[in-house]
């Protein structure tokens, strides 16, 4: 777990850093040209955010006027700069719009989710609760532009909903639905002024895309983390090497036998052979679901390595399907000693080692 966290960390840091750089660069550019303006803009932005009841249009016009009055630069550059500043001001305006219509938009979104049959494994109440917090986070990210908090939230959300069987397409689907719902409400609001609508969308789209991206990536990362954890757990559960008689080991293999596991298993077996001074090993593969060429070859390698250590190997538990498969794909197991089942294998091994197991007749 920790190892994976660490491996993810640099990526996160990298992306945030580059984001910061971009914003910083832009800021410095602005600072050079309109130093006094930035201060004014700041206060203006604050005003807009605080004073939500005030008509947005008026505020913006007032901001433009102020800028026009105190700006000593030429007309053309002023025009583009005003637009630039306007775009910066658009997002807070957007945010306040989304805040004002929180209830109706959220309701709309939840309805769309139900209509699209997404998150079907969750109750309507749960969907609504999650929708509320996603909505608030969404608006928060639009406002601050920082996806860091959203990333944490998305990770938490994924942790909660992955065990519920929520699929990737559902998570991506709901975020895209929200994006759609909000965009529609923006169309609604600005349909009078096409020019302004364009600029609003210019500001909204990148932020919305980034949010959708972040949520999807966090979800998939979380999923992959779960899968990796399970793989690790499987590998650790792995395989006990057990001594059943003096100098006789058994190695029951259960699950999927892939190359890394086969290697780890061989290593473990060889060390056990040395510590237990084993002469015979019974490898039982009843629990191996699938034997293909790679698995068969790794078994041959295990047997060969054990022989080099002076221990003979008996393989048991080859099912009829596996036997047929092996013959069909032409794996040569002629050098391997195989016995039908584990009991037969142990009996054969006992015979070779000179044990004789007898049933004691009941007394009385």
């Amino acid at each position: 777990m920790t190892q994976q966290d660490r491996s993810h960390q640099p990526q996160d840091v990298g992306s945030t850093m580059s984001d910061d750089h971009q914003t910083e660069d832009r800021r410095t550019e602005e600072d050079q040209t309109v130093e006094d303006q930035t201060v004014e803009d700041q206060t203006m932005e604050d005003q807009t955010m605080e004073d939500q009841t005030m008509d947005d249009q008026t505020v913006r016009r007032r901001g433009q006027d102020e800028r026009g009055a105190s700006d000593p630069a030429g007309e053309a550059s002023q025009e583009s700069r005003v637009r630039q500043d306007d775009d910066d001001a658009l997002l807070p305006e957007l945010v306040s719009h989304l805040r004002d219509h929180r209830t109706s938009l959220r309701q709309q979104w939840a309805e769309r989710i139900t209509q699209a049959h997404l998150l079907s494994s969750m109750t309507a109440q749960e969907v609504f609760t999650e929708a509320t917090s996603v909505y608030d986070n969404y608006v928060e990210v639009l406002k601050t532009g920082s996806v860091q908090a959203l990333k944490h939230y998305a990770r938490d959300l994924s942790e909660r909903i992955i065990p519920r069987g929520v699929e990737t397409h559902e998570v991506v689907g709901i975020v895209l639905l929200l994006r759609d719902v909000l965009a529609r409400s923006l169309f609604e609001k600005y349909r009078e002024d096409f020019e302004l609508l364009n600029r609003v969308l210019d500001a909204y789209e990148p932020a919305a895309n980034r949010i959708a991206n972040t949520v999807a990536v966090s979800f998939v990362e979380q999923r992959e983390r779960v899968i990796r954890d399970q793989q690790d757990a499987l590998l650790e559960l792995s395989t006990p090497v057990l001594q059943v008689r003096e100098r006789l080991l058994i190695l029951p293999i259960i699950g999927v036998l892939d190359t890394p596991r086969a290697q780890q298993l061989t290593e473990q077996l060889l060390h056990s052979i040395r510590t237990h001074r084993a002469k015979l090993v019974v490898i039982d593969i009843t629990g191996v679901a699938n034997v293909d060429e790679a698995v068969a070859n790794s078994l041959v390698d295990t047997v060969t390595a054990s022989r080099l250590m002076g221990a003979d190997v008996i393989i048991t538990g080859l099912s009829s399907e596996i036997a047929q498969t092996l013959v069909t794909i032409g794996v040569d197991l002629s050098k391997m000693h195989t016995v039908g089942d584990l009991q037969g294998g142990i009996e054969e091994a006992e015979r070779q080692l000179g044990f004789r197991v007898m049933k004691v007749p009941d007394e009385g």
Binding site: R274, R277, A305, M309, G310
Partner: protein, 126 residues
């Protein structure tokens, strides 16, 4: 056959050859280079003839590396000793060495292997 006497070896082989009854016990203490391996092979075959040995036991327990040349030389040695009437067993292959040999797809053909000296001697005595 005229055996050309080799120059007095500048360094003694890092291996000892002991005679134990009808068997020769070779204990290798450290990794041998190619030239030393060939020398060991020649000396050992010489001794097999001279002592009329019935068995050869080679202990490689001290080695943590066995390269392809060494593996082949040991295999050849076993075969040659067999031709001169001595059974050969290689003992003490470490788990890591066994894994490496298998992974490099090298077999020790015609070579009997055993866990350790005791096992090897038991096999030679049987």
């Amino acid at each position: 056959m005229k055996v050309d006497t080799p120059d007095p070896p500048s360094t003694p082989l890092p291996a000892s050859i002991l005679s134990q009854g009808p068997n020769l016990i070779v204990s290798i203490h450290a990794a041998l280079d190619d030239e030393q391996l060939v020398r060991l092979q020649r000396e050992l075959l010489d001794l097999v003839g001279r002592n009329r040995s019935r068995g050869v036991l080679i202990d490689v327990g001290a080695l943590d590396v066995l390269d392809s040349f060494a593996a082949r030389t040991l295999g050849d040695l076993a075969y040659m000793a067999g031709l001169r009437g001595a059974r050969t067993v290689v003992v003490g292959i470490a788990p890591e060495v066994a894994m490496a040999l298998v992974r490099l797809a090298m077999r020790l053909p015609l070579t009997q292997t055993a866990l350790d000296l005791e096992e090897g001697l038991a096999w030679l005595g049987s």
